[in-house]
């Protein structure tokens, strides 16, 4: 198997997935959850099946920019602009009187907090990346570190791109960007680097042994040697995540889906991008 030789095809495939995502991010942005946009959100549980459309009509009378979504046969999710204490109680009382609905969960995020969270999330990814580059430069060298981070960015772009498309173009609640999504993205970063390092470790080991292989052959050999491990590990995690996705309630489906996409992308990027990138760099700068 010659993975490194066909690297341009693999880079192309990555671009084919990332580019639409980037275009969507640039033109449409994200569907922000209330943690980032600010607002009030109620998950209302009714005693009998109740349609979102009916609740939407009721909510429209309040003039609070409400959107109502079905979150299960007996559940709806109501999102509004930030409500005052009085408005909020009025909404609760009304829903409980008219439909027998009780609040299963609610969240309120004021505008100040929302802005802080957006800045915070970006900063977290940046700080984590810088520290990882530092550690990898120490253990390997800076070329390995940079390639690992490029693969990491690949995964972040795949994930955010897919979510921009899901949330904005398909208008799915699944594609909402919230704090859980940031947690998922950070997990993916951790996993992506983890996966890449395992292959880099193999390359490091093979390079130490005197052999007649070229750098390119060496990298390819290392990828093949660690292929079983890469796929097996990812498979087990993917199994667990698929199980989680299928049984998880609506409010964390987006989270498990993000992990799923990220783990698959992370496995792909460490096999088909990170290590071949080392070869590209070596050709451009053969020191």
């Amino acid at each position: 198997m010659d993975i490194v030789g066909r690297r341009n095809w693999y880079f192309l495939l990555s671009l084919a997935i990332i580019l639409p995502g980037i275009i969507s991010m640039l033109f449409f942005g994200f569907r922000l959850g209330i943690d980032f946009a600010g607002g009030d959100q109620f998950n209302i549980a009714f005693t009998k099946p109740t349609s979102a459309a009916v609740v939407q009509r009721e909510m429209d009378t309040f003039n609070v920019e409400a959107t109502v979504q079905q979150a299960g046969p007996n559940n709806v999710l109501i999102t509004t602009k930030p409500l005052g204490i009085k408005e909020e109680s009025a909404v609760r009382d009304d829903l409980s009187k008219k439909f027998g609905g009780t609040v299963a969960s609610s969240a309120f995020v004021g505008p100040t907090i929302a802005r802080e969270l957006v800045v915070g999330a970006g900063a977290l990814i940046a700080i984590a990346s810088i520290l990882i580059v530092a550690y990898l430069s120490f253990r390997f060298n800076y070329k390995f570190a940079v390639c690992a981070i490029l693969a990491l960015l690949h995964d972040v772009f795949v994930l955010t791109g897919v979510y921009s498309i899901l949330g904005k173009i398909f208008n799915l609640q699944l594609g909402e960007i919230n704090t859980l999504f940031v947690t998922a993205a950070l997990t993916v970063i951790g996993f992506s680097v983890h996966d890449t390092i395992v292959i880099f470790d193999r390359i490091r080991e093979n390079l130490r042994q005197a052999s007649r292989l070229t750098f390119e052959q060496n990298v390819n050999l290392s990828i093949i040697q660690s292929l079983a491990r890469s796929i097996n590990t990812s498979m087990t995690v993917v199994f667990v995540l698929v199980a989680l996705f299928l049984i998880s309630p609506q409010n964390i489906k987006g989270f498990t889906l993000a992990l799923l996409i990220g783990i698959v992308s992370g496995t792909y990027s460490s096999i088909f991008n990170a290590s071949p990138l080392l070869v590209v760099w070596r050709r451009l700068d053969p020191r």
Binding site: A104, L124, G190, D201, R229, I247
Partner: protein, 467 residues
């Protein structure tokens, strides 16, 4: 390398300890007919006095799992002259006092950043939470002096109250709620009527002493004999001064019901806040939703673990058994650590833990793949196992350290939700390194020493033809 008896002993001790921590509290609770989950009275508490460490052993469920309300409050309009942090700390005390007096056992009130307070109230919904926190107000004490109220006074105080006495105006005495250290409802020992006792700090005590000494010189019942207590803009107490009050404590009497005395005590306590408290975010999870999330997570966890074990058994055969044992032990140790350190498990925390299970499996997979390679190269079982662990180590170390770096960043800079995730992931990763390098390795060495375990087919490897 042979089986290391000391390491094996260590594994045994840790396993027994972990299982004890995991299971004993349940046995004890069941035997004494107490609730199986949550904090209860009378359960033995793990304590290490000289470290100041004390912990009751139970799974601390986050609000999203047990139901409850999480609030983030912000201190705004801080009175000039008071540092924001100081105002925040005063506010924390006030909120704490209110929450505690409402009798919610496992609530948490803690400062966050310069001007924020986090409040967690398990088992309380948002409406109740808002009632508990209520309206926090600012207390000021005025005296009546001859004159008519000016525009500034009328803007600060309710005009009706400020114009209560013809020909007199309220004048601020420089005593405000920030000087009251505590207030409580009590009962007058002579009349048996409810009253409110309060105590001042030194500044307040001195000023109040001078004020009352001064007031008492005026004839009883005249406005100049009274002190006027305002909460925010409203006059709540306009009391005659019978004698000077020095010594730092005072009593307000006069027409209280037990409830109104209690209310004033709370107001006096909260009146110490030099600013106002705003709600900036809240999260509320109903108990039903929390319980169903727990059920789902447990189901997902069990299902995930089963899939992983099945996969390991089918793909790696005998080592798969070892890995499964190591994995179960790993889960037991991690759970014990969560209990001992009182790590609060949230949904995000569970996600972190599940991810760490994936990484624990990965360490085993890395080792087994290496062992297989060594076996294919024709080495003996014992040598292959040793080499497998040895050669897999750098990859396990570097990948886990990079994950720990991520956890570290998340823990120190992340929002509370993300912190929960980071801490379970970090604990999981550290335990998984122990599990892979110590437990799996020792178990493999035991296997290598067993005669029936020497057939290579048990490892999913064909015997090398050349051998």
């Amino acid at each position: 390398m042979r089986v290391d008896r000391r390491l094996l002993f260590l594994i045994g001790v840790i396993a027994v300890l972990a299982l004890f921590v995991d299971g004993f509290a349940y046995v004890y609770r069941a035997a004494t007919n107490q609730p199986l989950t949550g904090k209860i009275r009378g359960v033995p508490t793990l304590s290490i006095p000289f470290l100041g460490f004390e912990q009751q052993l139970y799974v601390h469920k986050g609000l999203d799992l047990q139901g409850g309300t999480h609030l983030e409050l912000e201190i705004t309009n801080v009175r000039s002259g008071t540092p924001v942090r100081e105002a925040r700390d005063i506010a924390v005390q006030i909120v704490e006092r209110r929450v505690n007096s409402s009798g919610y056992a496992e609530s948490v009130v803690r400062p966050e950043g310069d001007d924020r307070i986090l409040v967690e109230l398990p088992g309380v919904n948002l409406e109740q939470a808002k009632q508990i926190l209520g309206k926090t107000s600012y207390l000021t004490i005025y005296e009546w002096v001859p004159g008519t109220p000016d525009a500034k006074t009328l803007a600060e105080l309710n005009p009706t109250d400020a114009n209560k006495y013809q020909g007199f105006k309220p004048q601020f005495t420089n005593i405000d709620g920030s000087m009251i250290t505590s207030a409580s409802r009590s009962t007058d020992s002579n009349t048996n009527l409810p009253d409110v006792q309060f105590s001042f700090n030194n500044t307040g005590s001195d000023r109040f002493c001078t004020l009352t000494r001064d007031r008492v010189t005026h004839p009883q019942g005249t406005p100049e004999n009274k002190i006027a207590i305002f909460i925010d803009r409203d006059l709540v107490e306009d009391a005659n001064v019978i004698s000077e009050i020095c010594g730092g404590t005072g009593i307000i009497t006069g027409g209280f019901t037990p409830a109104s005395a209690q209310a004033l005590a709370i107001q006096l306590n909260s009146g110490a806040l030099p600013g106002s408290i705003n709600l900036v975010s809240s999260t509320e999870v109903g108990a039903t939703l929390g319980a169903s999330t727990v059920k789902l997570s447990l189901l997902a966890g069990a299902f995930g673990l089963a899939i992983v074990i099945l996969f390991m058994l089918l793909y790696y055969r005998l080592p798969g058994v070892v890995a499964s044992l190591a994995l179960l032990l790993y889960a037991a140790i991690a759970l014990a650590i969560f209990k001992i350190f009182g790590v609060t498990l949230t949904l995000a925390g569970l996600a972190g833990f599940i991810l760490s299970v994936g990484m624990a499996v990965d360490a085993n997979v890395l080792i087994f793949e290496r062992v297989k390679e060594e076996l294919r190269a024709g080495r003996t079982l014992g040598a292959s196992m040793e080499a497998g662990v040895h050669r897999a180590w750098p990859a396990i170390r570097d990948s886990n350290i990079s994950t720990l770096i991520t956890c570290f960043v998340l823990y120190f800079f992340g929002a509370p939700l993300i912190k929960g995730f980071a801490i379970t992931l970090a604990i999981g990763v550290m335990v998984s390194m122990f599990s892979a390098i110590v437990t799996t390795q020792q178990f493999l060495q035991i296997l290598a020493g067993l005669r029936p375990a020497r057939r290579l087919a048990l490892y999913g490897v064909q015997a090398p033809k050349a051998a």
